[in-house]
């Protein structure tokens, strides 16, 4: 069973227009690494040079914001859904 990753419109250039793709990995970091293998360049849009989530990207594992569940270390179970969204008014800020 795979993990479903929902891709926002702005990043679909990396996924050949696909709205959702599958990935594997036991943590969010592993899932993003796996995504980057298949969709080169995606990781660079999600993670900053210092290795944290980009400030204006919100990532949810099964609808819960990963900034409150361990950030990139958040566990991602088989069958989970990862949703990537741009921050809108009411968006998130990196936990300093």
């Amino acid at each position: 069973m795979a993990i479903e990753v929902k891709i926002p419109t702005i990043l679909r250039t990396y996924t050949k227009g696909e709205k959702a793709v599958s990935a594997t990995g036991g943590s969010l970091a592993a899932v993003i690494d796996d995504l980057d293998t298949n969709y080169a360049g995606l990781k660079g849009r999600l993670i900053t040079e210092d290795g944290s989530l980009h400030r204006f990207v919100n990532v949810y594992v099964d609808d819960e914001d990963v900034r409150f569940t361990g950030s990139l270390d958040t566990p991602v179970a088989d069958g989970a859904t990862v949703t990537i969204l741009p921050a809108v008014a009411g968006g998130s800020r990196d936990r300093a």
Binding site: K19, R55, D65, F68, V88, A89, G90, R95
Partner: protein
């Protein structure tokens, strides 16, 4: 396990935003920013504008609201009824664009007063001094507080107060997850985070789809007879997610969630009729929180 609703739809204009609007106006009057005859400017997806419009009418101010064009017709009608002028911002830009447009207008019209709910401390303070103490007075055993995340004022103010008084309290945010139409081609390098927001106040944060928000909105009608707006459904969805986890651990909990407004302003969206799936599809592309 008990889940409690704080009925903020019972405020004078029908939403929790009456608290922030009145507090921001009073503060601006007290510090001399707002003087008789002034025009107030505010970016709003509706409720804050409606609250401000009522206060402005009663106190003799003009009001200009910058609102995304994809908001319900009732919000526009209420704003016009209270005498506000509406400047629409493009749907594709969502609330971020409304904020940006309002900031431009503020620069072009230096005599207008932008109260700016996203960064005005009086917004959060209204909840620190009002919503928080009221909750604790009525529910001293509160373990969880769940509210919607927009300007973040409700969560920041109420959350800070409750954390001071009930150190173990969990503060949970529910934010709307819209369809692609709303997020559009929003650039992830130029996002927006309200100045009021401090994620240290929160315990967790849920993104709720239109479908789940609608489903819970209808559950509220079905089981409790509460006719709430759609954002309340999203808040309830997050509250029940947390309640399920606590129940699974066999722990005691008193979960309080905010009913942010009534359903009246959303009737035209078709949210309350037809199948859930159809109603959720109709909501795609609309700002419902």
């Amino acid at each position: 396990m008990r889940v409690w609703a704080k009925l903020e739809d019972r405020n004078p204009t029908g939403s929790i935003k009456d608290r922030a609007a009145l507090a921001m106006v009073r503060t601006a009057e007290a510090d001399g920013t707002l003087t008789p005859g002034c025009t107030i400017l505010e970016p709003t997806s509706g409720n804050t504008g409606i609250s401000l419009a009522m206060v402005a009418k009663l106190r003799g101010y003009g009001l200009v609201c910058v609102m995304p064009e994809n908001t319900s017709i009732e919000r526009r009608q209420l704003l016009e009824m209270f005498g506000a002028r509406i400047i629409f911002s493009p749907a594709a830009g969502g609330s971020n664009q409304a904020v940006a447009t309002a900031k431009q207008l503020a620069a072009q019209n230096p005599d207008w007063v932008m109260l700016y709910q996203y960064g005005n401390p009086a917004n959060a303070l209204a909840h620190y001094e009002g919503t928080g103490p009221e909750l604790l007075r009525d529910l001293p055993t509160i373990t969880h507080f769940v509210a919607g995340l927009g300007t973040t004022g409700t969560l920041m103010g109420t959350g800070r107060y409750l954390r001071e008084k009930v150190p173990d309290v969990a503060v949970i945010a529910a934010e709307p997850r819209y369809g692609d139409l709303v997020y559009g081609l929003r650039n992830i390098d130029e996002g927006f985070v309200p100045e009021l927001y401090d994620d240290a106040v929160l315990t967790s944060r849920f993104s709720v789809t239109s479908y789940d928000a609608l489903r819970r909105t209808r559950d509220l009608i079905e089981h409790e007879g509460i006719f709430a707006g759609i954002s309340t459904g999203a808040i309830l969805h997050a509250a029940l997610s947390v309640a399920d986890r606590v129940a699974a651990r066999g722990e005691r909990a008193d979960v309080a969630f905010v009913v942010a407004d009534g359903g009246w302003k959303y009737l035209s969206t078709g949210a309350y009729s037809g199948s859930l799936q159809e109603a959720a599809e109709r909501l795609e592309g609309q700002l419902w929180a």
